[in-house]
C-alpha cells in the first residue's frame, strides 16, 4: 500500500480489500476451523485431481449448459451478497463520510467501493472452489485454470448488479425501504435456494436439486450449448478468447456502472444519511398502549420489537422454509402413513427452534435488563411472562404440522400438539436457564454464546419429537 499513490484508485482499492479481509477475521478457534476445512477441501481437490488425471475433461453442449447453469446460480448468490455489501457500504460502514469529505472524485470512490464489494464476494467462492479446482488443474488439466478468471468476471459483474439494484431501490422507494430490502434479502439468502429447489422438485421436475432443475430447463430450451451461453463453460475449460471476452465484458460493466451511477451513488448516500428515520405524525390518545397484566405488556413489547426489525423477523421465520418440503408432502401427493411420524417429529423440532429463538430474543437479547431488574416483579415472573410471550409468538407456526396430521389422524395430531408445546416450552426454559446477555443483532451467532443451550435444545426437542413420532406411529399402526 505504501508504494501506491495515496488517494489514488489503486490505493483505495487496496484499502477496501484490506477492510473486506479484516471484516472476516474471526476468533482463533474459527480461524483453525477455517484452516482445517481448507485443508480438507484441498485434500479432496488433490484426490479428485489424481482420480481425474487420466480422464479427459472436454467441452461439449452438455458441459457448457451445465457450466451456464452453475454460473447463473453463482451470479444469483454473488448478487445477493453484493446487495448486502452495498447496503453495508451505504448504511453501516461509516467510512463514506470520511471518503466523501476528502478531495476525491465520488466516481473514484464508487469504483473503489465496487472493487471492495467484488473482492469480498469473490473471497467466499474462491475459498470454496479453488482448493478443489486448482489441484485438478495442476494435476493434468491446465485448462481449468480458467476457473479463477471466470469467478473474477462473475463477481465483478455481480458487484455492479448488486450496487445498481441497491441504488435503484434507493431512488425508487427511498433509503428506508432500501435498507429493509437489503436486510430482508440478506435473511432470505440462506433459505431461498432450498425453497426454490423444493418448489421445482414438487412442480414435476422430479427429486432434483435446484442446479439440476435449472440445467434440465436450459437443455430443454437449448440454451448454453453454443454461442454466448457457452462462454462460461469455454472460459472455465481454458479457452483464452472466452475468458478474455467474459472478463472484458465484466470490466465494461464495471466502467459503465461507474459512469452511470457516479452521481446517483453520492445522492443515494446523502439520502441514506438524511432520511433513514421517519417521524410519524402523532395520532389519538395513548390509552391504547396500556394493558392490564404483566404477560400482556411483555407480549406487546416483544411482538413490536420483533416485527419492527424485518431482518431479524425474516431470519426466524425463514426457519419455516424447512417446513416447505414436509408441508408439500403432507398436504399433497406424498401423504401416507410412513410420513406421519416424521411430521410429528418435525413439528416438535421446528416449534423448539422457534420458541428457542424468540426466548433468546426476549431473555438474552433484552435491551433494557436494568429496567426489568428495578421493576417490582420477581425474576421468576418476568421469565414466565417472557416464556409465555415466546410460546405465543411461535404458536401459529406450531399449529401447522399438527393441523396437517389432523387430516389423517386426529388423535395423532393431539399428541403431536401436546409434544410440540412441551418441546417448545423445554427449548424456552433452556434459553432462560442458560441466558447470556447479547445484542439482538448477534442473533445469528447466538449459539457461540451458549453452546450448552444449543446442544440441550437439540436433545430436548429430539426427545419430545421422538415421543410424538413413536406415539403417532403406534396410533396409525393400530388404526386409532
Amino acid at each position: 500500500m505504501r508504494r501506491l499513490r495515496p488517494g489514488g484508485f489503486a490505493w483505495l482499492v487496496v484499502h477496501e480489500l484490506r477492510l473486506a479481509m479484516r471484516s472476516r477475521r474471526r476468533s482463533r478457534r474459527g480461524l483453525w476451523i477455517g484452516v482445517a476445512l481448507l485443508a480438507v477441501f484441498t485434500c479432496v481437490g488433490i484426490m479428485a485431481g489424481l482420480g481425474l488425471r487420466d480422464v479427459p475433461i472436454e467441452g461439449g453442449p452438455a458441459v457448457y449448459t451445465g457450466a451456464l447453469a452453475i454460473s447463473i446460480l453463482l451470479v444469483s448468490f454473488m448478487t445477493t451478497q453484493a446487495l448486502l455489501r452495498s447496503q453495508h457500504t451505504l448504511y453501516e460502514s461509516g467510512d463514506l463520510d470520511l471518503l466523501l469529505s476528502a478531495p476525491l472524485e465520488p466516481r473514484t470512490i464508487l469504483l473503489a467501493k465496487l472493487c471492495g464489494i467484488a473482492g469480498s464476494v469473490v473471497i467466499s467462492f474462491t475459498l470454496l472452489v479453488l482448493p478443489i479446482a486448482v489441484p485438478v488443474a495442476a494435476l493434468g488439466h491446465p485448462g481449468l485454470f480458467g476457473i479463477p478468471a471466470l469467478l473474477a468476471a462473475l463477481s465483478l459483474a455481480s458487484a455492479c448488479l448488486g450496487l445498481a439494484i441497491m441504488i435503484g431501490v434507493v431512488a425508487l422507494a427511498g433509503p428506508r425501504a432500501a435498507r429493509t430490502f437489503g436486510q430482508v434479502i440478506g435473511a432470505l439468502l440462506a433459505g431461498s435456494v432450498f425453497l426454490i429447489s423444493q418448489l421445482l422438485s414438487n412442480a414435476g421436475h422430479g427429486r432434483n436439486s435446484g442446479a439440476m432443475s435449472l440445467f434440465n430447463w436450459l437443455r430443454e430450451h437449448q440454451i448454453g450449448a453454443g454461442g454466448v451461453g457457452a462462454l462460461p463453460g469455454r472460459a472455465a475449460l481454458g479457452d483464452p478468447i472466452a475468458a478474455l471476452l467474459l472478463f472484458g465484458g465484466a470490466i465494461l460493466i464495471f466502467a459503465a456502472t461507474g459512469y452511470l451511477f457516479g452521481r446517483s451513488f453520492l445522492s443515494s448516500y446523502q439520502k441514506a444519511r438524511m432520511r433513514l428515520t421517519r417521524h410519524r405524525a402523532a395520532t389519538g390518545a395513548v390509552a391504547r398502549h396500556f394493558r392490564t397484566g404483566l404477560f400482556a405488556s411483555m407480549f406487546a413489547k416483544e411482538w413490536r420489537l420483533l416485527v419492527r426489525d424485518p431482518a431479524l423477523a425474516f431470519q426466524i421465520v425463514l426457519r419455516l422454509i424447512y417446513l416447505a418440503p414436509l408441508a408439500l408432502a403432507a398436504f399433497g401427493h406424498g401423504r401416507g402413513p410412513p410420513l406421519l411420524p416424521a411430521l410429528a417429529f418435525a413439528s416438535v423440532i421446528i416449534a423448539g427452534q422457534l420458541v428457542g429463538s424468540f426466548a433468546w430474543l426476549a431473555v438474552s437479547a433484552e435491551d433494557a435488563p436494568d429496567l426489568l431488574n428495578v421493576a417490582p416483579i420477581a425474576r421468576k415472573q418476568v421469565n414466565r411472562a417472557k416464556l409465555a410471550s415466546a410460546m405465543a409468538m411461535a404458536a401459529p407456526f406450531g399449529l401447522i404440522l399438527p393441523l396437517a396430521l389432523a387430516l389423517t389422524s386426529p388423535l395423532g395430531a393431539l399428541v403431536t400438539l401436546a409434544m410440540t408445546a412441551a418441546g417448545g416450552a423445554a427449548a424456552g426454559l433452556i434459553e432462560i436457564k442458560w441466558q447470556k446477555p447479547a445484542p439482538r443483532k448477534t442473533f445469528r451467532r447466538r449459539r457461540s454464546g451458549s453452546l450448552v443451550a444449543g446442544i440441550l435444545t437439540i436433545f430436548a426437542t429430539a426427545f419430545f419429537g421422538g415421543i410424538a413420532a413413536l406415539a403417532v406411529w403406534v396410533i396409525t399402526a393400530v388404526g386409532l
Binding site: 421517519r278 395513548v286 394493558r291 392490564t292 413490536r304 431488574n373 417490582p376
Partner: protein, 245 residues
C-alpha cells in the same frame, strides 16, 4: 419525627478492591439530595445497591421504612431509577414505552394512560408520542426515560447523572421537572458532575470519596466545613475531596 425516605447504614461493597466502605446516609422525605464525588468515588455503585441492581456485601438499606434487602419488590414498587444511559427500547414509541413500564409496575391502564398523557405533554414529547425512540436525540431519549421513571408516581426517584449530554434547553427542562416532582412530594437522590445543578437544586448535598461520606449538609454548611474562605461549592468540593483522609 418523619420517616426517612432513604436510610443507608454500614453499607459496604468490594469488587477487586473496596468501593464502598461502611457508608451511612439518610435522606429525608420530600428532599432533593445531591450526591457528589470525583470519578470512581462509588456514587453509582451506591445508587445501584439502593435500586437492587447490585447486592451489597454488608449493611442495610431502608426505603420509607421498607428493608430493601429483605423485601426488594416492596422497595422497588415505590422507587424509580434513571441511569445516565436511558433504559429504552429504540423500536418502541414513547407511548408504547410508557405502556410497558406501567405494565411492569402493574399500574391499572385507567390510571396510567392519563398520567402518561400528562407526562408526555409536560415533557414536550406529545407530538412525538408515536415516533420510535431510535430517531430521538439523546435529550429526548432522556426525557422519555424520565417520563418512564415518573409514570408510576414513585416516592423515591434516584437519578444517576441525569443531565449528561443534554443541551442547555433540555437540561433546564429536566431540572424543572425534578424540582416540580419534589414540590409534589417526591424525594430525589441525584448524582451529578455539574456542581451548579447541586448548588441550585439540592436541599442537601453529600460528598462521597473513597467509598465514604466525606461531608454532608446544605450548601452553607458545606462551605463552613470546608473553611471560612471557601465561597463556591466548587471550592468546597475540591477542598473536601482532596483533603487527606
Amino acid at each position: 419525627m418523619t420517616e426517612a425516605a432513604l436510610k443507608i447504614s454500614g453499607l459496604s461493597k468490594s469488587f477487586d478492591k473496596p468501593v464502598i466502605a461502611d457508608l451511612d446516609l439518610e435522606v429525608a422525605a420530600g428532599e432533593l439530595y445531591a450526591l457528589l464525588g470525583p470519578n470512581g468515588a462509588g456514587k453509582t455503585t451506591t445508587l445501584r445497591m439502593v435500586t437492587g441492581l447490585t447486592r451489597p456485601d454488608s449493611g442495610s438499606i431502608h426505603i420509607f421504612g421498607i428493608d430493601a434487602l429483605a423485601d426488594p419488590l416492596a422497595a422497588k414498587a415505590v422507587t424509580a431509577w434513571l441511569p445516565d444511559e436511558p433504559m429504552l427500547y429504540d423500536k418502541l414509541t414513547p407511548s408504547e414505552y410508557l405502556g410497558f413500564v406501567a405494565g411492569l409496575w402493574r399500574i391499572p391502564p385507567a390510571d396510567a394512560a392519563p398520567e402518561a398523557e400528562r407526562l408526555l405533554k409536560w415533557l414536550e414529547l406529545w407530538d412525538s408520542r408515536d415516533t420510535r425512540c431510535e430517531t430521538f436525540s439523546r435529550g429526548m431519549k432522556q426525557k422519555v426515560a424520565l417520563a418512564g421513571a415518573l409514570i408510576h408516581r414513585p416516592r423515591l426517584l434516584i437519578l444517576d447523572e441525569p443531565l449528561t449530554g443534554l443541551d442547555a434547553t433540555m437540561a433546564r427542562a429536566v431540572k424543572d421537572a425534578l424540582r416540580e416532582a419534589v414540590d409534589k412530594g417526591a424525594t430525589i437522590v441525584v448524582t451529578t458532575h455539574i456542581l451548579e445543578v447541586a448548588e441550585r437544586l439540592a436541599d442537601r448535598i453529600g460528598i462521597i470519596g473513597g467509598g465514604k461520606l466525606l461531608a454532608e449538609g446544605t450548601l452553607d454548611e458545606l462551605r463552613t466545613q470546608a473553611g471560612p474562605d471557601q465561597m463556591t461549592l466548587e471550592d468546597a468540593f475540591i477542598k473536601l475531596t482532596q483533603a487527606p483522609r
